[in-house]
Symmetry: none
Subunit: 201 residues, 4 copies
Amino acid sequence: MTTALDTTSPQPVKRRSRPSRREELLRAAAECFAESGYTAASVRAIATRAGMQAASLYCHYPSKADLLIGVHEIGIERITQAVREAIHTELPPWERLEAACTAHMRSLLGGDVFFEALMRNVPLRTDPAYRAIREMRAEYEALFSDLLDDLPLPADGDRRKLRLMLLGAMSWSFTWFSADRDTPEDIARTFVRFLRQPLDA
Amino acid sequence: MTTALDTTSPQPVKRRSRPSRREELLRAAAECFAESGYTAASVRAIATRAGMQAASLYCHYPSKADLLIGVHEIGIERITQAVREAIHTELPPWERLEAACTAHMRSLLGGDVFFEALMRNVPLRTDPAYRAIREMRAEYEALFSDLLDDLPLPADGDRRKLRLMLLGAMSWSFTWFSADRDTPEDIARTFVRFLRQPLDA
Amino acid sequence: MTTALDTTSPQPVKRRSRPSRREELLRAAAECFAESGYTAASVRAIATRAGMQAASLYCHYPSKADLLIGVHEIGIERITQAVREAIHTELPPWERLEAACTAHMRSLLGGDVFFEALMRNVPLRTDPAYRAIREMRAEYEALFSDLLDDLPLPADGDRRKLRLMLLGAMSWSFTWFSADRDTPEDIARTFVRFLRQPLDA
Amino acid sequence: MTTALDTTSPQPVKRRSRPSRREELLRAAAECFAESGYTAASVRAIATRAGMQAASLYCHYPSKADLLIGVHEIGIERITQAVREAIHTELPPWERLEAACTAHMRSLLGGDVFFEALMRNVPLRTDPAYRAIREMRAEYEALFSDLLDDLPLPADGDRRKLRLMLLGAMSWSFTWFSADRDTPEDIARTFVRFLRQPLDA
DNA sequence: AATGAATGAGGTTTCATTCAT
DNA sequence: TATGAATGAAACCTCATTCAT
């Protein structure tokens, strides 16, 4: 009857492709994880924010940990796409890196709760969700490995550490970023410049 | 190499006695916070690890949050002293910065649970311990501001962002550091070199 | 004598079903509050008496204080209705007052745990439930204000103090009442007579 | 050396017959019992208010229940003496009763925490302190029995119920008394007048 | 007389999850 | 798909009391 994506079809069609219950749930979870952290966020709070009872949540996700994975999936997917788009065009290597970083920072600091949830909830090695999330992150970070491979570095340039430094510095920014003093774009540009100017000279 | 960083010893030698109950408690708390995170770590687990009942813990600290503050105090105090010692000698600015970073990384990644607890538990803005901890961190980071002020940078060098980049990159390293592949000293040296080579040329 | 005061029946016949869990819970709470006092009565004991786990109690009432309010609501509702019924008929003013007092005492001393809980747990001014309960009591006592207004008193008769004296004397009776020596009806009759007739002949 | 009543004699004499530790403790206990009720008042709070550690309290009183008894002893002793003094003079029976009631109310509502503690903490029958306190109260109330015996009542005047009514009404007044609207003396006078004079004109 | 430390019991409440409906 | 009720575990913390010093 309706589109294949309409997961709420059993109810009379209200509005076209409104966020499904699962999506609402993930958003609610992201908000709670971002605000309180994974452990402190309660399933009840997430369900309430999504407009349902805690028990109903389990119709959609089998556990709290799966919500965290779901949130990460969305977050990583979004930021991956943002960065992919940014480096789609033809550009010199350093400019491509800068474009990627700009997209990265714009996503991370743009107020999207999915990214806040992402940053604030790096899972512990003992967490059951650890592996799944680590793999997603690794895949994303591979994008930057590629960008760095294209860079013309001196022979002793340790590209792995360069990537870790750049991504780490950007990741940590959620800790000190203040929209009053900084813009995501400026941070990205400045960080890249710090690295580039010597090496490029 | 040196023993100055042996964090298990009861600090600068204040009292000769065996570590006091408070110190044992802080160490137990640090271990638990490092392993499980602040929220997931239970007061009972901390007390048990310190060899007492949960109720006894409250003879020494009035709440779990105060334990977190205590852990941060020790951690910050130790790393501050380590860095202070490292920059005590007369050195050219870049070398002093590198010495500081080396000390910083050596502390952070040296396996001291107080630092692991520190890094894994950046408090949320809503946390009652947020203010207290933020101030401690700020005071520590001021050390690096001073070091950066001494650096001969070009006019447009944004020293604040440089500091944030360097410290952020180092902070994030607890996320990916593996003693098999890296050494703290090497990371510090490499990160500083990345920033220096252009600017110093 | 009558069955109107059978406080175990599920009230005016609202639903036919066996007493709901909420009602069982309130009764259990009333029993515990009557036996041990509000503070000393534990949520666990209340839940156990109602045949459930302490945690399950919170499906029905959000806190212990709300149980106290609920118990008061039922108690006040019952005694209000008993008094209302007693004064429903046409009677001379003093006889109506006596009828009201008889109903009042019969409720209070008839062994209903809800009234015992009521009397033994006048909340402190600092108690969060204080306001709610005070208002209920005030509404009930207004019934007596009306009855006293109908009394043909001399000009200097302080009707407020008269009400407070009468109600106070009756309230305090739960302190000394012994079913062996007294009947609720006799107490009521005697108290009203003391006020009505001249003792100083 | 000092007076026999100086229970703190081992310490160098500071001030003459200042409240002994036991007295301070009783006063602190009375305050706490009056504010929070016996059960909710904690030994720790009492000790703190008396300027000592909880453990030190046990040097003076062997248990919390003994503090309650001690508070009652003082309270009953004080009010007994107040009433005794009031009825010491030669007066007609009704005037003597009024004088006693005035003294009673003045004590009860005069802001003395010992009386507030007394009224707010009628022990339950299951309380270990129940018997001891009940006996004290009975002895005090015997004073009123005597006064009532002197009253010229009609043949059917039930003196026991009269006493219970009068004392009960006065006891309950701590529940509604407001220094803004009432004075203890006026309450006493009015209550006695209600009994003495015919209201049913 | 005083106390710091300790304790076992127990307080209220929240947790993630299950299950019958 | 949704939920109300339930649960066992566990959360943080406070309790009255004890004891060695």
